[in-house]
């Protein structure tokens, strides 16, 4: 399970960096989530941030659940996102999804049981000129052939796929 003391120290540093004000909640939360292996905000950490900023935990929870980048539940160590909006569907993202599911060994909308990778649909991230497009750990890739797809998966997630 998670050990939080070390994490709290680092979160404290993030809060100091941005300033102990409510207005900085969003960058504090996004930077904090980047520290957590499984890309989420544990409840204890949300509580800690709420106390540090003197705001109610319910409102920190509101922010966590509002923004798509933030998660209240653990996800994979690596996040693979496939655009499912208008342009990428027109450009037949279904075959891309199939290829990803096969390569990663997880069906879209799920986290692989070993916790290494989450594969999910995501709305348009402005890569329509290289559609259909994906993001792997925030890096954008498009105009993918089967070969290129395998390569970018290997480069980012490293051989740990089915």
């Amino acid at each position: 399970m998670m050990q939080f003391e070390n994490l709290f120290e680092k979160v404290e540093a993030i809060i100091d960096k941005y300033g102990r004000e409510r207005a900085n909640l969003l960058p504090i939360l996004t930077d904090t989530q980047d520290l957590v292996d499984h890309n989420f905000i544990p409840e204890e950490v949300a509580e800690f941030i709420a106390c540090s900023l003197c705001i109610p935990t319910s409102q920190v929870y509101e922010v966590i659940t509002f923004y798509a980048v933030l998660s209240e539940v653990p996800k994979g160590k690596h996040i693979v996102q496939v655009c499912d909006s208008t342009v990428c569907r027109l450009n037949k993202n279904t075959s891309l999804v199939e290829a990803l599911e096969k390569e990663l060994g997880v069906s879209v909308g799920n986290t692989r049981p070993d916790g290494e990778v989450t594969l999910e649909f995501t709305p348009c991230f402005g890569a329509c000129d290289i559609s259909p497009a994906i993001r792997i750990d925030k890096k954008v890739y498009g105009n993918l052939t089967e070969e290129k797809l395998v390569k970018v998966i290997n480069d980012n997630i490293g051989g740990m796929h089915s």
Binding site: A46, P56, S58, Q59, V60, Y61, E62, T65
Partner: protein
């Protein structure tokens, strides 16, 4: 203020330019339908019911749009009516339709809109294919006081505002987006895992049956039906000036006599007055205060009869527990006496006595179940009914409340003073205490019994009281956001007060979470007027003059703050799990 000429539904009116269309329409005698709007809250404009037409193809919400000079508004054009009805149908499409079984049947703002818009079954079917399955999480029945039914929530956010701005607990907030949008505590917890104070103010503003009190009527009927049980009932002061509203009477009407009669018809063996133990509380608390002053005890001392306030203190100011009076609330003092003193007098074993209390308060249900509240090894107050539950019970029993003849309370807990009844209003406990403390300290009779400086609806009131030469600073707060201000001063070591009264609910108990629900902004003022009216007409108006209380000390308790008192009438407090020490951010 500048003036504006506006045409509303073909009527020309001239009004202040700062008004919203909603307010302006009232001037023209037009009531635009609303749902999320509440007269004492901020405008939210999220339900989108109050639409009006201000131009070709242009609809705006009347609650949030200010008028402009030359505006031509239609509140009932075709486009408005069709769109409003459509919005209502969309709400209904994701709202539990089991009105017949809902606690707000007949008292629901959504039902009012359906009636107003002439909604029929076929309209809804257009949208939802007939059967409505509401997408929401499981009901929260986790705690003794409040039930949350997510399937009925219309997401108006009224409860969020009350919980956050007025009551400062901030347990509720909106979370998630789109169809997952939910008003709930952090991490979807049930209320028992939060710092909810159970004050029930959220219930008082909910337009529908999404939040309501936990109902104990069946348990009480069971006890009444049990021939072996001796069922007694105590009634709080604030109930008697509000219960009448549930039967069409004016707010503030004193229905004490009818209330007692109705309870006898229902079958209670004895009907008692919580005011008795309110008088008792004043004695105990008055001496406790004087003890602290004399012996350099922790000051300021803060009153402890409001369980919503106690919950708040244990949750957010547990470091200041020592400032709390150790006196139990009148409800709980009554409870312990009912199983000891009364048990002896009536010669009935306490296990055969079922004590019910009628309270304006939802937190009292939680208070009654606190583990400390048992004087003989089992629970002192067996069941708590809110004013609203009592009204339902009276209706269930067929009593014609408005016509019934008045009756009197039973002895030995029927003699009470005016000082006791004013407990129901904010400032009442303070005033009652001052009436006694003044005479104890000065040894002189107090002529002017009305302490006006501590009366009224201001959030924080303070006064300098001259006790025969010694000036004592006192303060009164109602509503927890106001309580916080006084507690912050104590925490920072800056409080100038000796004695502080805090009531969780705005207006004091008359505005409690268990009272009849009303959107009348003057409802509290009307009830308070009723309370002080009763006090004025009382023969006895000082707690220490209550002969039955004196008898209680002579026969049973001994001295105020004595050993027996401490055993039965005093309590202790504990920080709540997950308690937070908040430090105020000064804006």
């Amino acid at each position: 203020m500048k003036e504006c000429n506006v045409i509303i539904d073909n009527k020309e009116i001239t009004i202040d330019s700062g008004m919203t269309i909603l307010e302006a329409a009232k001037v023209a005698n037009i009531n635009i339908p609303t749902l999320c709007y509440h007269p004492v809250q901020e405008v939210k404009a999220n339900c989108r019911i109050c639409l009006v037409q201000t131009g070709k193809d242009k609809l705006v919400t009347a609650c949030s749009t200010p008028v402009w000079d030359g505006m031509n508004v239609k509140t009932n054009s075709r486009l408005v009516r069709d769109t409003q009805k459509g919005v209502l149908e969309l709400i209904l499409a994701n709202h539990d339709q089991d009105c017949l079984r809902c606690v707000r049947n007949g008292k629901c703002e959504l039902q009012d809109l359906c009636e107003m818009f002439n909604i029929s079954r076929s309209d809804i079917e257009d949208v939802t294919l007939g059967d409505v399955t509401v997408d929401s999480q499981a009901m929260d029945v986790s705690n003794p006081s409040i039930v949350r039914d997510y399937s009925k929530c219309v997401k108006c956010n009224r409860c969020v505002e009350t919980c956050t701005k007025v009551q400062d607990a901030s347990v509720l907030a909106a979370s998630h987006r789109s169809t997952d949008y939910t008003i709930q505590p952090a991490f979807g917890k049930t209320l028992d895992h939060t710092l909810c104070t159970y004050c029930g103010q959220c219930i008082n503003v909910c337009p529908v049956g999404a939040i309501y009190e936990k109902d104990y009527i069946d348990q009480v009927w069971d006890a009444l039906d049990d021939p072996d049980m001796h069922v007694i009932v105590q009634i709080a002061p604030a109930v008697r000036v509000a219960l009448g509203e549930e039967f069409g009477m004016e707010a503030g009407t004193n229905v004490t006599g009818k209330l007692v009669a109705a309870l006898r018809r229902i079958g209670f063996d004895r009907v008692f007055d919580t005011n008795f133990t309110a008088d008792l509380t004043i004695i105990e608390e008055g001496y406790e205060l004087l003890g602290r002053v004399k012996n350099s005890g922790t000051l300021p001392m803060v009153t402890s009869c409001s369980p919503g306030w106690i919950n708040y203190m244990e949750g957010f100011y547990p470091d200041l527990i020592d400032n709390m009076s150790t006196c139990k609330s009148p409800q709980q003092m009554f409870g312990s006496l009912s199983k000891t003193y009364y048990s002896d007098k009536a010669e009935i074993h306490p296990s055969k006595i079922y004590t019910v209390s009628i309270m304006p308060c939802t937190a009292k249900k939680f208070e009654a179940q606190r583990p400390e509240m048992n004087s003989y090894g089992a629970i002192d107050v067996n069941a708590v009914l809110t004013t609203r539950e009592l009204a339902r019970m009276i209706k269930m029993s067929g009593v014609d409340f408005t016509s019934i003849s008045e009756e009197q309370y039973d002895d030995p807990f029927g003699i009470t003073t005016g000082a006791a009844v004013i407990f129901g209003a904010t400032g009442g406990v303070m005033e009652a205490a001052l009436r006694t403390v003044y005479e104890v300290v000065t040894g002189e009779e107090l002529e002017a019994l009305d302490f006006h400086e501590v009366r009224g609806l201001d959030g924080i009131k303070s006064a300098d009281i001259d006790l025969g030469g010694t000036v004592v600073k006192v303060a009164v707060a109602n509503g927890l956001a106001n309580a916080r201000k006084l507690m912050e001063e104590i925490r920072l070591g800056k409080s100038e007060y000796t004695f502080i009264e805090i009531m969780a609910c705005p207006g004091g108990c008359i505005g409690g979470g268990g009272q009849p629900i009303s959107r009348d902004p003057d409802i509290r003022a009307k009830r308070i007027k009723g309370i002080y009216g009763i006090d004025r007409h009382k023969v006895l108006r000082k707690s220490h003059e209550n002969p039955a209380v004196k008898k209680l000390y002579d026969e049973f308790l001994g001295q105020p703050n004595g050993h027996k008192s401490h055993e039965l009438l005093h309590t202790h407090y504990t920080p709540r799990p997950g308690s937070r020490i908040k430090t105020m951010q000064f804006e």
